[in-house]
């Protein structure tokens, strides 16, 4: 795997050194100026998040790196951790200074246990180099990082479920508000950021907000790391500016002629070929970076079946719209496959999907019907009146 050009052109620790020379409000101001939005999917402005946590009064605060990467089709956080772990830890340390936290926790998914020895070695090296621990780089800054292993639950990528797991509970999302920036791990103010967000923050501190803003769109600044898989010639990890069109992206990855592209993983949107001119950015098609290309031969019902199996399996089961709604949608896909679904029932299922988007407690249930709804909308002619031979 080739290292990512932008991340590998960064001078080591230049961002951290810059942060040391700035006051806490100035670091946050730089982040706000850059317009960086969270890379985990939700796209919350990072500077604003840090500012909330910095403003909160507490004896103890935490910086949490969300390395639970579980969205189907996403693997860029793994590559960033393998190739640029230093940059991620540098970003966490900068966040620690900005909000006034002394502890950082990396929540690493159980499936990535094989990355742990390597990451622990990088942490040890940083402690020896005085980049972690007490008196970082000769200043009075104190910050250290530990790794917590996840135990195999997609829902723990949701920040409040992640905190529940850290505290030793079932990974069941909490009501928000209160948000983690006020009431996070152990009830203390906590910043939860994606791996890529933290690495990007280190780059921004080094090169400045204007450098970051020069790429991307006004609303979605900077570069974004994409995980590309599915029916294309060159699957892998890519770096593209925010605002790239689906068509341009397909050209780069060798996926021209695709039938549809799933942007944002199973919880994202299914974009048909007629809409390939749309742009990937928070103002149009938002994404955490997962791109799955579907070639002409793919049956969109098989795709939906796979996604809904995933959500039925991974729903935490806490609230009814999601626990039962995903099951109903899955049964609906099975009926469609067998050619036994009436138009009236399909419409009812779509109404159920709308309800789930409104009534579910967390992002999983709110976004799990998206793929179903977009396939029904865009590929209707493919779905109805199937004969049994399709099964």
């Amino acid at each position: 795997m080739s290292p990512l050009p932008t991340f590998s052109t960064m001078a080591p620790e230049a961002g951290l050194k810059q942060a040391m020379s700035l006051s806490r409000p100035d670091i946050i101001e730089t982040m706000k100026q850059s317009g960086l939005k969270g890379r985990g999917g939700a796209g919350f402005p990072t500077g604003m998040k840090w500012n909330f946590a910095a403003a909160a009064q507490a004896a103890e605060k935490f910086v949490i790196c969300n390395a639970d990467e579980g969205e189907p089709g996403t693997f860029k956080d793994r590559v960033i951790l393998q190739e640029h772990a230093d940059l991620v830890f540098e970003g966490m340390t900068i966040a620690g200074k900005a909000i006034g936290a002394r502890s950082g926790i990396v929540f690493l998914r159980g499936e990535y246990t094989y990355l742990r020895p390597q990451l622990e070695a990088v942490l040890d090296k940083r402690r020896k180099q005085k980049l972690l621990g007490k008196d970082i780089l000769g200043s009075d800054l104190e910050f250290d990082i530990r790794i917590f292993m996840g135990a195999g639950a997609y829902i723990c990528g949701e920040e409040t479920a992640l905190i529940e797991a850290l505290e030793g509970f079932r990974g069941e999302p909490r009501n928000r508000p209160p948000f983690p920036v006020n009431t996070g791990f152990l009830g203390r103010p906590s910043v939860v950021n994606n791996v890529e967000t933290l690495a990007s923050a280190a780059c921004i501190l080094q090169k400045g907000a204007d450098w970051w803003k020069a790429t991307g769109t006004a609303n979605s600044t900077g570069i974004k790391i994409f995980s590309v898989s599915g029916d294309c010639e060159k699957p892998g990890v890519y770096e593209f500016p925010m605002g790239i069109t689906v068509a341009q992206l397909l050209k780069e990855v060798g996926g021209v002629g695709a039938k549809a592209v799933q942007v944002g993983g199973a919880s994202g949107l299914c974009i048909p070929a007629s809409q390939f001119k749309r742009i990937i950015a928070f103002e149009d098609i938002p994404t955490g970076g997962s791109i799955i290309v579907f070639g002409q031969q793919r049956d969109m019902l098989d795709v939906l079946h796979n996604f809904l199996d995933f959500f039925v399996d991974e729903s935490c089961g806490q609230c009814t719209p999601c626990r039962l709604g995903n099951r109903k949608l899955l049964e609906g896909v099975e009926l469609l496959r067998e050619g036994k679904c009436s138009m009236a029932y399909l419409q009812e299922l779509c109404a159920l999907g709308d309800t789930m988007q409104i009534a579910s407690k967390c992002g999983l249930g709110q976004s799990s019907p998206s793929a179903f709804l977009s396939v029904v909308k865009n590929f209707r002619e493919e779905l109805m009146g199937r004969t049994y031979s399709h099964v």
Binding site: Y154, L186, G230, P235
Partner: protein, 173 residues
């Protein structure tokens, strides 16, 4: 359970609890380490963990049963987790599954009678560009094909000792 075994397990749990700070936040790390070593977390272990952390054993059970990688039931020495999510599905995970079941003589969700292998499904494991992907314990395998299945199983079997390789393979009806 042998009394001496019990004492030893209780001692280990106590030491783990101390290492992880003797409070609720230690729960998942303790269970992970016990599971890693004993391949199960039985009622006795859950009771001791509960006593150590000052919580009800049902609380321990509720956490253990929530997470795919915990779970109280015993599993084989090697847990094979094949990814069933979309990109691996499109790259042919179905045939890998069939061959895996044929070569081990068990279905997904089962453990071989000799306690050596368990077959489980996993959701996307971050190797989508190199599918079909699977984990054998902590090790990741990519671009798995039905032909490679045998090779991977033999690699595991070699760790059982010289006489354990080339086991008779079964035909699954």
């Amino acid at each position: 359970m042998l009394m001496t075994d019990r004492e030893r397990l209780a001692g280990e749990i106590k030491a783990l609890a101390e290492k992880h700070g003797n409070c609720r936040t230690a729960l998942i790390p303790i269970v992970q380490e016990i599971k890693q070593k004993y391949r199960k977390v039985d009622d006795f272990a859950m009771q001791v963990i509960a006593d150590q952390l000052g919580i009800h054993p049902v609380e321990v059970y509720s956490v253990v049963s929530f997470y795919a990688f915990l779970g109280s039931a015993a599993h084989g020495k090697y847990i094979i987790r094949l990814c069933r999510t979309i990109s691996c599905d499109m790259q042919g995970k179905e045939r890998v599954m069939r061959q895996m079941e044929n070569d081990l003589g068990i279905r997904f969700g089962e453990t071989t009678a000799d306690g050596k292998f368990s077959l489980e499904w996993a959701n996307c494991m971050g190797m989508c560009d190199q599918g079909p992907a699977m984990l054998v314990n902590e090790k990741v395998y990519t671009h798995v094909t039905p032909e490679k299945v045998h090779e991977i199983l033999e690699e595991c079997r070699r760790s059982f000792g010289v006489h354990a390789t080339e086991q008779k393979e079964v035909y699954l009806v």
